[in-house]
């Protein structure tokens, strides 16, 4: 198993303070504050349009909040960025081989060639893609492509891996394979922070839940507490599987 962090000091907890995001006067996210600690997997839950993906992108630094701030413990932004990776709902791969896709990400981190080759081989091995290393990445099935996106992120050995609806475009079989890869990454010591609207997946993978509704943080609790005893009416309705607007 690849070890995460390789000795760097922990960048967790991630603290969001009064986080807000507005586009053309419309507030899509409003007054969201939370702390994400070192537990194995935090799930950001909520119905469509709740602001899940937005929150994830703000945390990862792809967007700048229009209000409030996101902070990591200890290191500055640049150093913290090197300890993070993100996997998107639809895998974004380069038009080159499977192995070259992983190598590209490692090269951006400035790693020497030998280490790149070693890490890429290891990541492809752990995600069951070793046999496809020489294939064109875009010739893979969507499920395999998503596993490649996970392998590429894993090879970076991030302390925190963000995942935005990582199985939303996949069939059940591919979802199972991606989830087991996510478990392996979690077991290697990488903190997972994921969005999903799939309650089953949230139960299977998460140990902490941030529940968003209409751009606000409604619940922040352990996974067990949220699913057994949601404290808000919105949370109760969501767990019961009722549609929320």
């Amino acid at each position: 198993m690849p070890e995460s962090g390789h000795g760097a000091r922990s960048i967790l907890p991630l603290v969001a303070e009064d986080l807000g995001y507005a586009v053309a006067g419309r507030r899509l996210l409003n007054g969201v504050s939370f702390e994400i600690g070192p537990g194995p997997c935090t799930v950001i839950l909520g119905p469509n349009g709740a602001g899940k993906t937005l929150t994830l992108r703000l945390c990862h630094g792809l967007l700048q909040p229009t209000h409030g701030r996101v902070g990591w413990r200890g290191p500055g932004r640049a150093e913290a960025a090197r300890e993070q990776a993100m996997v998107f709902q639809r895998p974004v791969l380069l038009r080159r081989s499977v192995a070259a896709n992983v190598d590209y990400a490692l090269r951006l981190r400035g790693l020497p060639r030998d280490e790149r080759r070693e890490r890429a081989a290891e990541a492809l091995d752990h995600t069951g893609l070793a046999a496809l290393a020489g294939r064109a990445a875009l010739s893979l099935s969507v499920g395999e492509q998503q596993r490649l996106a996970l392998a590429r992120a894993w090879a970076l050995r991030p302390q925190v891996l963000f995942l935005d609806e990582p199985t939303a475009s996949l069939d059940p079989g591919a979802t199972g394979a991606v989830e087991s890869t996510m478990r392996a990454i979690r077991a290697s010591g990488t903190k997972l922070v994921m969005t999903t609207h799939d309650l089953g997946q949230a139960r299977r993978l998460g140990d902490a839940v941030l529940f968003l509704h209409q751009g606000r943080l409604v619940e922040n609790s352990s996974s067990d507490a949220f699913f057994e005893q949601p404290s808000s009416p919105e949370g109760k309705a969501f767990v019961r599987g009722e549609l929320l607007w």
């Binding site: 792809l62 090197r82 974004v92 380069l94 038009r95 951006l108 981190r109 010739s139 590429r152």
Partner: protein, 234 residues
């Protein structure tokens, strides 16, 4: 009608026998237009990348400008280059007027906007697709430019081919700045214009046939490049 058929037969014979004059003219045409395309690619691709990927004030103005330069009239480009290079012009001291270099320069000005405008479109779309992922991996926009040039290589090739097609087929610019001097600046299009007006139809027709064949070859290559891109997506 019989005259036309006769001219056509002679034209084919000129091509098949690799007539010396015809070969010389075709050779100069290719040399001039390929040089212009090479230079236009060096300038046009980075220009397209900057206009398509960087966010700066006035970016839309640049885009509109590039797109409107797509249809630049060759005679106007020829006139401008003529004024620049004429003895009393600012670059007159170089003595380039009526040389192949002047023709390369004029075609370069004519097709750089084509390469830039078409590659801007390609790179802007690719950047929309890749920006979040590449930024997440730690690549800023400058680092992403070479990556996307490689990612879009086949589509960018069609932009370059479009520039070549335009350069090899235009007559307005090269006839003004080259002067259509035999053995010096006479290229396929200017030769066709001259021989037609002089009534030497076989040579004009032969060159015309070759020009069409070249155009078909260029379009076939562009089609293949797009087919390769599509199959890579499948």
């Amino acid at each position: 009608m019989a005259d036309l058929l006769e001219a056509f037969r002679t034209a084919l014979r000129l091509i098949l026998e690799l007539d010396a004059e015809l070969v010389e003219i075709v050779g100069l045409s290719l040399r001039v237009s390929l040089s212009a395309v090479f230079l236009a690619t060096l300038v046009g691709l980075p220009l397209g990348a900057v206009a398509g990927m960087l966010r700066f004030p006035g970016r839309r103005v640049v885009t509109v400008l590039l797109n409107s330069l797509l249809g630049l009239p060759p005679v106007v480009v020829g006139l401008v280059v003529y004024l620049l290079l004429s003895r009393s012009g600012p670059l007159g001291a170089l003595g380039l007027l009526f040389t192949p270099a002047a023709m390369v320069f004029a075609q370069f000005l004519l097709i750089t906007p084509i390469v830039a405008a078409l590659s801007r479109q390609v790179l802007e779309e690719l950047w929309q697709e890749y920006e979040d992922q590449l930024r997440s991996l730690g690549a800023g926009v400058w680092r992403a430019i070479p990556t996307l040039l490689f990612e879009g290589r086949y589509l960018l090739l069609t932009a370059i081919l479009a520039g070549f097609g335009r350069a090899i087929a235009e007559v307005g610019a090269v006839i003004i700045v080259g002067g259509n001097i035999a053995h010096v600046t006479r290229v396929m299009t200017t030769a066709i214009a001259l021989e037609t007006s002089r009534g030497d139809l076989p040579l004009a027709l032969g060159l015309g046939l070759l020009l069409i064949a070249l155009s078909i070859a260029v379009n076939a290559a562009a089609y293949l490049a797009q087919a390769v891109t599509r199959s890579a997506h499948a």
